[in-house]
């Protein structure tokens, strides 16, 4: 004998609502799909991913791998993806360095330095990123001189076509130098391991810093000299109106990296500041009372705790930077959003496929980073009751 009507049973109601939700969402999707298919047919737009093998027919100003106008759309996608990763990678590097410096400066006991850091943070956080990108590109880089009157700083050349560097070209035998570099890295790892074991056993470790630096620079250099200096630099040469040869960073890349780094660094600075402040002052005091020196306190007590607080939001910012690189579409820097979701989309008209691929790539990067973050968090979380 039921004590209540079955439609009041919470479990039945739960299933009812869930089934309803699935039907509604499913129905919604069905309607959209039907309409889309009809519309695409009416517009004579092709479907499917076959277009990836068709010839692209357009050039790209910066390619990290082989590409020409007769390459396929698929190849263009790859080039664009690599360009995205390039600008994101460089941007993340500079943003982190500047961000940590400004964040630590913000906490400096020197009043002037702390205020300057605050001004930096408050200025660049509150101005839209697109505006900053356009500013660096238009107001600064376009005002650079023509190639004939390039600015020279050492072996760097700056003009309105970009930043030119001599390109290192390895000759036979350079492989040994590279190998020496990696052997040096291995050596450093061994040195640290050995030092730690010695400290555990006897209380005193080995000096690490100078031998490591010596190994890192010395070993490759000696190998280089012994191999007869198998390296020459291809210097960019002025031919006609432009430079040929060497490495070139196009102005769009420079503007993008500059703006992304400066903007994201402002957010990273705040994260670093609050991370360090999250470690209570009592921790430093207890460590001081035990007789630990300043560097030891930072390394053993403050930074491990600060990093736990800093790293999750820091990864968030890295992700934001990667997504923000899509603003390159405003500059025609050839990355994923501007080349693939831009030119390729316009030429093939296959918006659905192109946008799906593009969004899937960004989504994939996001999920990957989130997963890595969650994994890291579960490993290092402070153990509590």
């Amino acid at each position: 004998m039921r004590t209540q009507a079955f439609w009041n049973d919470p479990r039945i109601r739960a299933w009812f609502f869930q089934i309803l939700a699935v039907l509604v969402v499913g129905g919604f999707i069905a309607i959209i799909v039907t309409n889309t298919v009809d519309n695409l047919n009416a517009l004579n737009v092709a479907s499917g991913f076959g277009f990836l093998q068709h010839t692209a027919g357009f050039g790209i100003s910066q390619t990290l791998i082989e590409y020409s106008e007769s390459s396929s759309y698929g190849r263009a996608f790859l080039v664009a993806l690599l360009n995205t990763l390039l600008v994101a990678g460089i941007g993340i590097f500079f943003a982190t360095v500047v961000g940590f410096l400004v964040g630590i400066a913000r906490l400096s006991p020197n009043w002037l330095v702390a205020r300057l850091a605050t001004v930096y943070i408050e200025t660049f956080r509150n101005i839209p990123l697109l505006l900053q990108i356009l500013f660096w590109y238009t107001a600064v880089l376009s005002n650079l001189p023509a190639p004939r009157n390039s600015l020279e700083i050492g072996s760097l050349l700056m003009n309105n076509r970009g930043l030119y560097l001599p390109a290192p070209v390895g000759e036979p035998g350079f492989g040994f130098v590279v190998a020496a570099f990696f052997i040096a890295l291995l050596g450093i790892v061994f040195l640290r391991h050995w030092s730690q074991r010695r400290r555990i056993a006897t209380g005193r470790g080995l000096p690490i810093m100078w031998p490591s630096l010596g190994l890192l620079f010395g070993l490759p250099l000696i190998t280089f000299w012994l191999a007869g200096a198998p390296l020459h630099f291809e210097v960019p040469e002025l031919r006609g109106f432009n430079f040929v040869g060497g490495l070139r960073a196009i102005p769009e890349l420079l503007a993008l990296v500059l703006a992304l780094s400066i903007y994201t660094a402002a957010f990273i600075a705040e994260i670093v500041r609050s991370g360090i402040q999250a470690v209570s002052w009592g921790q430093s005091e207890a460590a001081q009372a035990l007789g630990l020196r300043r560097t030891q306190i930072l390394r053993l007590v403050v930074i491990p705790q600060a990093l736990r607080v800093i790293i999750p939001p820091l990864t968030s910012q890295y992700l934001n930077l990667t997504k923000n690189s899509s603003l390159a579409a405003a500059l025609a820097y050839p990355e994923l959003a501007s080349v693939f979701a831009g030119t390729v989309l316009n030429q093939t008209g296959q918006a659905i496929e192109v946008l799906t691929i593009t969004m899937a790539v960004y989504l994939g990067l996001s999920l990957l980073t989130s997963a890595a973050m969650n994994f890291y968090n579960s490993r290092i979380a402070l153990v509590e009751r």
Partner: protein, 372 residues
Amino acid sequence: MSFVRDTYLVETPPPGMNVGVLGWLRGNLFSSASNTLLTLFGMYVLWTVVPPLIEWALLDAVWQGSGREACLVEGAGACWAFVAAKFGQFIYGTYTFEERWRVDLAFLAGALTVGLLMIERMPGRRYIAVFGLLIYPVIAYILLTGGMFGLPEVETTLWGGLLLTFVVASVGIVVSFPLGIVLALGRRSQMPVMRVLSVIYIEAWRGVPLITVLFMASVMLPLFLPAGTNFDKLLRVLIGVALFSSAYMAEVVRGGLQAIPRGQYEAASALGLGFWQANLLIIMPQALRLVIPGIVNTFIGLFKDTTLVMIVGLFDFLGSIQVNFSDANWATPQTAATGYAFAALVYWIICYSMSRYSMRLEARLNEGTRRA
């Protein structure tokens, strides 16, 4: 060893070099060799940045003029005359000149609503909020679009400038707010289907850049609807922005919900309240108070993100400034820099004020929760 004091000692001032202006300077700027170096470095930075900036923006700037000749003067700084001449367009876009009063009215009404909401002890705050979320949008829509009540229609293609920026940001926030609440509740729901659907929605929108969403909105939305539906470009962008923003709003609301102690939920069910009643009457009011700083921060982010609509062909504040750089009448080397500087200033003032307000709110909220 015993001791008893007979008279208390009076306070004496500290040794000279430690107080006053000199003491402050000594302590904060010159306390050690490295500190002094830092101070010198800081002063160098100031020296290289501030005087040239003041020269360019104020001393050498051109304040009046009607064309490029005014700003082509030798050694001219910022071309504020350009800003002055184009000011109307920067604010209203190409909105019909005679109807601009409608924009002013809509903005004033909105500002008033928000202003009243910001007053701490305002009576009837809830009613003002309801007005702001439900009634004011309708009024604003009528005022801005027209086509009824005797107001001539102004097509959305004419909207631009700061007007457009505020429209996109405000609509984005107002629409994403209820959506975000539903999604946040869905994500915390016990029903697996709701949870999965919510999580997929939230993570999908949060994982992609806004640009791709805008592309998707302008290119794909017309395909989703039956052929022949005329789809206003602004509307497409608004839909994209609202959906995108709702995912972030959902996370903000979720943070607020998580901050409500379990005891509140338990007390609500002990009183016999069902799911919707408990949430509406007990949980939500508390959670929403907590997330107001988060909502303001989301609005600040959205406000900055409105600049992206320029890439899909709408002329917001930044877009209308940028498009005027190619006006031949004002082509000078300083035009672009001046325009960007003006844009940066306006955005900075608005965003900075909002972020100060949000910080004050947060501090006030934390006051209430901190134990004495």
